[in-house]
Each structure stands twice: as structure tokens, then as C-alpha cells.
Amino acid sequence: MSIDATPSIARRGLADRLLRRGPLEAIATTIIAVGVVMLMQPLSLTLYSWSFATTLFGTVMFTIVSKVRE
């Protein structure tokens, strides 16, 4: 019983740590920043082509996760 319980507590702990507003907002912010860099970089047209999708994804993610509990 105790052997089964330990991993579930560990899993819940990890989920609790990750599914909070702070880390999720940080991830969304990073995605937005990457999207903006992709939009303006002079190296690859392919990166430029995917920049809008990346920024949009980051922005939508930020809007959603800003409603997640603190």
C-alpha cells in the first residue's frame, strides 16, 4: 500500500508545482518572445513563416494560463 502511494504523491506534487500560474506564464512569455525573434530574424525564411503561429500560440496560452490559480 505504502509502495503504491508514494509515486502518486510524487506525481501530484510535480503536477502542483507545474500547473501554477507562475511557471505557465513564464513558459507562455518565452514562447511569445521566441515568436517575435522568429518574426524579425534575418537568417531563415522558414522560421519567419512559423513566427506568427508561434506568437499566436504563446499569446493564447498566456491569456488562458493567466486565469489559472496562483
Partner: protein
């Protein structure tokens, strides 16, 4: 009635209100009253902000042209987005924008922080110098664009004479606005001249928010001025600097008026920032659907950056 005092007049008017209306108003809940007050604002916001945004999103999926409004509108799906995001010319405009944004933000931040650091020392006449430094920020971009056009004139412009004085080159030997290499720097110089005071103000607020006792404790620990700067001043002013960087970054990403007045995107397309490309597509080529899609791409980018800005602002507020 004229002989009545002010309080008596108010009482008289209150009595004159029909009891039925008064009862109805008194019967409204706080929530309803709140809605009554904010409804005009919400309606205005919907009319001038939300509706145009939704309409632009719709137009970005169609072949609509504003100069041919009678032509039937055809749904094109994401064709315009695909076209813009694979167009090397638009990509080039984005790189011009990047050059403008990066260099203006770097120069404005370094100079702005430096000026704020000096002003914070509260030397004799620092108030007067603060006012003088803030003057460019108070001017209209149209005015700034016009008079810098004169300053950059190769024959009569003061800028060329100053450069000639320091470098020994002939004043008429170079054109800041007509040269392919120099014109991107010409717009950077003007923006830095105009907006460095703004960055200075934000940095000054950051520097003034650092309590004196921290420096006193550092003095007791015999920390050098250099050490105090790196360990106290810079880390504590950093959220404010970040705020200034984000604000100027967002503003310059959207820059239109000043660049349009100075160079109009030329020579060629060397200073054609994204907003000028957008204006040309919308009001010179009349490709309304295409320019709507381009506007939405720029909007999402600015909205994303604004999210980061709000996050940084909350961090500053929590201090």
C-alpha cells in the same frame, strides 16, 4: 424661492421628484446601478475597439478592396496570411523594423539610464536640466520629423555641419536621408533624441525608489562605489529598465509617423518599417484584405509583447 438657502433648495428639488421614480431608483440593486454606469463605456469600447478588430479579422480572410466596395466579397481562407508569411519583401520590412527597434532601444536605454543616474545625484540646477532634457519628448512626432528633415539637409542642415566640424569631412559630402547606408541610422538618431528622456524618467523613478539605508549599510561594509552600483543600483533598478525596454520596443515596433515624415520608407525600401509597408498595401495598392491580414499579424505580435509588458509591470508593482 430666491430667498431660500442652498440646502433648502436641494430639499425642495428632492421633494419635487416624483415618488414613483424615486422608489424605482431606490429599488435598483448595487449591481444594476454599476451596470447602468458602465454600460455607456462598454458600448463605446465595443463600437470603437472591438467591432473594428473583429471586422478586420473578417476582412483578412476575404478579397475585399476598399476602393471597389461594390465587387462581391469572396472568402479566401488563410491565403493572405500564407502570402505574407512567405513573402521575402515583407520579411525584409520586418528586418528593417528589427534594426530600428533594437538600436533605438539599446541607445535609449543606455543613454536614458546614464542621464537618470546623473540627474539622481541632485547637483545644483538639476531641476532645470531635467526640464531641458525632457523637452524633445513633449514635441509632436510631426514637428520632430519636419525639423529633423531640415537639420539633415546636406547644404543647409546643422547636423551635417556638426559632423563636418568633428570629422573633417565636407558637410555636403554625405546625405543622412538620401544614403542607403546612413538613412536607417538617421531615423534611429531622431527616435533616440526624442525618446531617451522618456526612458530617463522611468529609470529615474527606479533609482529614486531605492532606499538610502541600503547604501548606508553598504558604506558601513566599505563597499566601493563600483560595487554598490553593480550590487545595489542596477539590480534594484532593473525591473524599471525592463519596463522602459518593453515600452519602447512595443512603441517602435508600431512606429509610423516620424519615419514616414523623415524618409517615407526610402531611399528604395531601406527604411520601410512594417507600418509603412502596411500603409502602402492599404491606401496605395488598396489591398484591404491583404493589409488586414498584415495588420492582424502585427497586432498579435504587439499583443504578445504587451502581455510580457503587463507581467513586468506587475513585478514592478509588487516591489
Amino acid at each position: 424661492m430666491n430667498e431660500l438657502s442652498a440646502s433648502s433648495r436641494i430639499t425642495y428639488r428632492a421633494v419635487m421628484v416624483r415618488p414613483g421614480v424615486a422608489r424605482r431608483i431606490r429599488g435598483l440593486s448595487d449591481r444594476t446601478l454599476a451596470w447602468l454606469f458602465i454600460t455607456p463605456t462598454i458600448v463605446l469600447l465595443l463600437a470603437i475597439n472591438i467591432f473594428p478588430l473583429l471586422w478586420t479579422i473578417y476582412l483578412s480572410f476575404t478579397n475585399y478592396r476598399a476602393n471597389r466596395a461594390n465587387v462581391p466579397t469572396i472568402w479566401l481562407g488563410a491565403d493572405w496570411y500564407q502570402s505574407i508569411l512567405t513573402d521575402p519583401d515583407i520579411w525584409a520590412a520586418m528586418q528593417v523594423t528589427a534594426h530600428f527597434v533594437i538600436w533605438t532601444v539599446v541607445i535609449e536605454t543606455v543613454l536614458g539610464f546614464g542621464l537618470a543616474y546623473l540627474i539622481d545625484k541632485k547637483f545644483r540646477g538639476h531641476g532645470m536640466w531635467t526640464t531641458i532634457i525632457l523637452l524633445p519628448m513633449m514635441l509632436s512626432p510631426a514637428v520632430v520629423g519636419n525639423f529633423w528633415t531640415f537639420l539633415y539637409q546636406p547644404q543647409i542642415g546643422l547636423f551635417n555641419y556638426v559632423v563636418a566640424f568633428f570629422t573633417g569631412r565636407a558637410a555636403s559630402s554625405f546625405q543622412m536621408l538620401g544614403d542607403v547606408t546612413l538613412s536607417p541610422w538617421a531615423i534611429v538618431i531622431v527616435d533616440a533624441w526624442m525618446w531617451t528622456p522618456y526612458v530617463m524618467l522611468i529609470c529615474l523613478a527606479g533609482l529614486r525608489s531605492i532606499p538610502d539605508y541600503i547604501y548606508e549599510a553598504a558604506e558601513v561594509d566599505r563597499a566601493s562605489k563600483w560595487r554598490q552600483f553593480w550590487s545595489i543600483t542596477l539590480p534594484m533598478a532593473l525591473p524599471f529598465i525592463m519596463l522602459a525596454v518593453l515600452f519602447r520596443g512595443i512603441e517602435n515596433f508600431k512606429m509610423f509617423d516620424m519615419v514616414n515624415l523623415l524618409t517615407g520608407g526610402g531611399p528604395g525600401s531601406t527604411t520601410e518599417v512594417a507600418s509603412i509597408t502596411l500603409k502602402r498595401a492599404a491606401f496605395e495598392s488598396w489591398r484591404t484584405g491583404y493589409s488586414s491580414a498584415f495588420a492582424i499579424i502585427l497586432f498579435v505580435t504587439v499583443f504578445g509583447l504587451a502581455n510580457i509588458y503587463v507581467k513586468a509591470l506587475n513585478k514592478v508593482k509588487s516591489r
